[in-house]
């Protein structure tokens, strides 16, 4: 299945749910969807073109928005579904009913960006090291790390 086939199929079958389809490089397709359409689009694509392999979910902090990129691999390249959620209300539906393997990456998102994943099967808050302070999300741009002073054994000479 070539890129053009996938684009055409997506346009024909899921056109009403997809906001934009970009094709920046060979074997790379970027589809933009609204957050509430995300699960439906993934389920549709899984049915239409057999998209079972979720490579990862990248989160990007864009200031007032978080951008989530769901990278899928297929037999002939890569397809990325992009969605944006507001920083004030960082919520997104879990993909795990459609793709069980997604749970890992969603927990990672919870941990690193503080995005709330609705209906995630294992809703335990993700911990960085035990005793990590709450409401600290390392990958948010406004979070900075204070270096702890190091002890020099034997003292400085």
């Amino acid at each position: 299945m070539t890129d053009l086939d996938i684009i055409e199929k997506t346009r024909n079958r899921l056109g009403d749910k997809v906001a934009e389809i970009a094709h920046p490089a060979p074997r790379r397709i970027f589809i933009t969807v609204e957050p509430h359409n995300l699960v439906a689009v993934v389920a549709g694509l899984k049915k239409e073109i057999g998209l079972w392999y979720l490579a990862t979910i990248s989160g990007v902090d864009l200031g007032d928005h978080f951008e989530l990129l769901y990278h899928f691999g297929h037999d002939n390249g890569n397809l990325t579904i992009r969605t944006r959620i507001p920083r004030a209300q960082p919520q997104v539906e879990s993909l795990s009913p459609v793709i069980p393997g997604s749970i890992l990456y969603e927990r990672e998102l919870q941990d690193m960006f503080g995005i709330i994943i609705n209906h995630i099967p294992d809703a335990r808050p993700l911990v960085l090291p035990d005793g990590w302070p709450a409401e600290n999300f390392p990958l948010r741009k406004d979070w900075t790390h204070e270096r702890t002073p190091e002890i020099i054994p034997g003292g400085k000479k």
């Binding site: 079972w52 691999g73 390392p138």
Partner: protein
Amino acid sequence: MKFTIPIGPQHPALKEPISLRMTVEGEVIRDADIRLGYNHRGLEKLAEQKNWIQNLYLTERICGICSHSHATCYVQGVEKLMEIEPPKRGLYIRYLVAELERIHSHLLWLGVAGHEAGFDSFFMYTWRDREVVMDLLEMISGNRVHYAINTIGGVRRDLDDGQAKKILDGLEVLKKRSEFYFKLAASEPTFVARLAGVGYLSKESAMELCAVGPTARASNVPRDVRKDDPHAVYDEVPFEVCTADSCDVLGRAVVRIKELFESFKISEFLVKNLPPGEIAVKAPKRAKPNEVLSRYEAPRGENTHYIKSNGTDKPERLKVRAPTLANYPATVEMLKNGFIADIPLIFAAIDPCICCAERTVALIEARTGEEKIVRFSDLRRLARRRDHPLVSKRNTVWPF
């Protein structure tokens, strides 16, 4: 008699810190819980504070075994962002190192698998031969482990004719040795008995849980980024995707051995057809605002790097997905209802590279399977029973 045993974070079977909590009944595992985070170093945050060249150094140190794969994956992406085209010769050397690294990694894995199964002689023999490929890598790059051969726009070091000849000789030696040892291993009944039927992962669950690399290929899912997404030199190189259909540890070993021979073939092709010319082009300091998704087939499976630039000399976001992380859900699935004795083997079978997986944190808990309390008297019966009906089903043939 049901209790939880902690395996790790410091455990001889795991060379890296990870904590597995196994709920066992006698010798049978009922539930598995993996706790990561012991190796989490916060790499993605660090990457945002370093410039493009410094990040090359950083990505190389994500992992020591597949250091070249992360660096290559990153460099591929950055070259696209900067819109530069590395010269052909540079690319050939880069992917030659990549294939040699795959050979070293698979030999290492075979040795470790032997060690986990208590077959120390096999471990010693494979590691002795691994030194041959380590020498080749040291000759090409000047380093045994972190090769640092990549640079943005090509590679750092050229290859001369003498070196090319040495590589071909070394590959010839390796080929002969590996063939001999693998025949030996295949004829060792205790070893094969330990691998066959252990850690079953069906094709359906492999797909559902998004398994990658040899783990997926051993479950007959022919996924290989080098074929699916033929980047750089891989559209010119003849090779095959190796699969097995036995879905167990034996299958994973077979896939790795077959891949080893594919890698010998690819490396030979790359050395023999090395084009003349430059090895690197000059790279700009900054990259225009853009985004790129870079994929690379590391020895353990697919590496995915998502890189976003914002016009400065530092990346806006560098997202690293290592293959081991993708294989964790599958591991939990495989561990269920196995024996304690098989934990190290099953865990080793995905060739875990915890340091790769843990540039971020993840926590998995297994879905609780059917549980019943077993008394001590039942244990003996359990131990005698053949828990896996698959033991008899050996449709994966050893390649020799």
